[in-house]
Symmetry: C2
Subunit: 117 residues, 2 copies
DNA sequence: ATGCTATATATGGCATTGCGATATATTATT
DNA sequence: AATAATATATCGCAATGCCATATATAGCAT
């Protein structure tokens, strides 16, 4: 029963940054859930992997809060997709979350002695 | 009912990095719980605040895993304190967690477009 | 035909766990 | 006498991440 610490850390950390990730990814263009999950995997080079059982409920929560707005898109020969776009309110939240993220990283680095990271 | 996004983010993120913070703080010298909680507050300039109802159970968990080792220190005119020191196993875990943290930050920055942060 | 993989969304339910609230104990300050 | 700071401890609720599973479509291999 080896305890793989860094993997645990990453799994735990992903939770808190999930909103920031999603909001960032729908910033430039509307995206559907599966697209978001794949983007997170590829852009992080496999370091982060979003479980769909976490992703979809989170998308619903963000939409309920009015940070993203979804609409169904039907296309022949394709399963229907729900594309989410960032709302005006969402833009403000994203800006705040980016500030929060930066401040948080600085705080952690200060405490753990990783200034130069 | 204003939704303070960055505060939510920080609270959520703190969870995952809690182990890294504690292990880092007992790296140079043994420290007791209250000391650790105060250090996190001061070194982060108030950005991070550890709830004691989270801190103490976490210390027990880390000790149970063998990453830190505690011992009671009694001193006249003082409430008894439990000083935790980093074990050999803990040192390895801390190194792995630091690598994990760095990789995680890089992954997030890549995904959210904050390379230059 | 059949099975497997990728795409795409959805959810029941369990297990984890963060934290508000509260408690106990000692010392110093007002 | 009351309050604040130091120091550790825990009950119990609420939040939520994810395993497992389900549904539906399309492409490709066997």
């Amino acid at each position: 029963m080896p305890y793989i610490a860094s993997r645990v850390l990453e799994r735990e950390l992903k939770k808190g940054s999930a909103e920031l990730l999603i909001l960032s990814l729908v910033e430039d263009r509307p995206r559907h859930g599966y697209d978001i999950s794949k983007l997170i995997e590829t852009r992080s080079k496999g370091a982060l992997k979003f479980n769909v059982a976490s992703l979809y409920p989170l998308l619903y929560r963000l939409e309920k809060r009015g940070w993203i707005q979804g609409r169904w898109v039907e296309k022949a020969g394709q399963r229907r997709r729900r594309y989410y776009k960032l709302t005006l309110e969402g833009k403000k939240v994203l800006a705040a979350q980016r500030r929060g993220w930066r401040g948080f990283v600085e705080a952690i680095n200060r405490i753990t002695g990783m200034e130069h990271a």
